[in-house]
């Protein structure tokens, strides 16, 4: 149970930090021109593989 709560807290921190970082990037010129920064590209690739992995079943419980 403690491990579960710790993991959830960790994930919540990740979400908060990501949202904060994105707010900063959103005010930049590259964001206004529609271009992705390097970090955004990496995040996008990770998101795509996470979704595909979950869909196909590559990402399991272990």
């Amino acid at each position: 149970m403690i491990r579960f709560v710790t993991l959830l807290l960790l994930a919540a921190v990740i979400v908060a930090v990501a949202a904060l970082a994105v707010t900063v990037w959103a005010s930049g010129d590259s964001a206004r021109s529609g271009r992705l920064s390097g970090v955004q590209k990496v995040a996008y690739v990770c998101l795509f593989f996470l979704m595909s992995g979950v869909a196909v079943g590559w990402l399991g419980a272990d």
């Binding site: 993991l7 994105v22 529609g34 995040a43 996008y44 996470l50 979704m51 595909s52 869909a55 079943g57």
Partner: protein, 292 residues
């Protein structure tokens, strides 16, 4: 969607090269492949859910649906953000689509993981990580109204309403001309729209220009829209070259008028600035302050 380009250097474009001297400014689609690719995992999940039992099928289909809705909201959010960025005076999007998209992508990931027997803890973690990655990759929606400093807010609202109506006319024009299925005509209309948008940006910067340009942004634009709809119907039916030539001439005339009017509005703004500077210099000189 890919389309055949009919510009100056295309085989069919050289004939009219002299007629369209104004270059078309290319615009990058705000959505692009990155938001469209997000539909792929949803389709994969829906397809692979069959064969895992009724519970897995229900969870898988629910997850696929949630992902699809999230991807669609993300795409709409990117479009709304591009429209917000293109304008100098804009209201924030009424619905924070990208943030809702992130929540739905996270929720869909939880459902998809549960369909694969990952367990609640693991699924919740995957969901949170997916939402965080989505926020990082696509950002959040604009949360503040955008306005120009030193300009009356009431006037800015009036301008925003007129600009919204003008944009609706332009969208209708583009929708109609696409029915004609002629890439060169689409490019020509797009170029005309650029000159109209230049006027829109000028009026946004100085709402005092609204009165002088109201007819251009209302009646004339509505007329251009109606003419485009009629022309598109005729041209799609029998490819009438005469109608095409008349329509292109109308667009050229309109474009020249819009460009001239925009130039006049800018000149008036320059004159206003000169008057303001002169008045200020006179006052300072009367106060005994020397500017030289």
């Amino acid at each position: 969607m890919a389309r055949k380009f009919g510009g100056t250097y295309s085989p069919d474009g050289k004939r009219d090269a002299g007629r369209d001297p104004t270059p078309l400014h290319a615009t990058v689609s705000p959505t692009g492949a990155r938001s469209n690719l997000l539909f792929v995992p949803g389709a994969l999940l829906a397809f692979l859910s069959f064969g895992g039992g009724p519970e897995a099928l229900a969870l898988g289909l629910a997850g696929a649906g949630t992902w699809t809705l999230g991807a669609w909201l993300t795409r709409e959010g990117l479009k709304a953000e591009a429209a917000y960025n293109a304008r100098k005076v804009a209201r924030r999007p009424a619905l924070p689509r990208k943030m809702l998209g992130a929540a739905l992508i996270g929720g869909g990931t939880v459902l998809a993981s549960l369909s694969n027997d990952v367990g609640l803890t693991g699924s919740a973690l995957y969901g949170l990580i997916a939402a965080a990655l989505h926020l990082t990759a696509f950002g959040i929606d604009p949360l503040k109204n955008k306005s120009l400093q030193g300009v009356d807010e009431f006037q800015q609202d009036r301008v925003a309403r007129v600009v919204d109506e003008a944009e609706a006319h332009l969208d209708a024009m583009m929708g109609a001309i696409r029915r004609a299925r002629d890439p060169r005509l689409e490019a020509r209309v797009e170029r005309f729209q650029q000159s109209v948008r230049q006027m829109l940006r000028t009026v946004e910067e100085d709402p005092r220009d609204l009165t002088a340009s109201r007819r251009y942004l209302g009646v004339y634009l509505m007329g251009a829209r109606d003419a485009t709809i009629k022309f598109a119907d005729i041209y799609a039916r029998d490819r009438d070259a005469g109608a095409k030539s008349d329509y292109l001439m109308l667009l050229t005339d309109l474009e020249e008028n819009y460009v001239a009017k925009t130039r006049k509005l800018l000149e008036d703004s320059n004159t206003d600035l000169t008057v303001e500077i002169d008045v200020l210099r006179d006052r300072l000189q009367r106060e005994g302050v020397r500017l030289d």
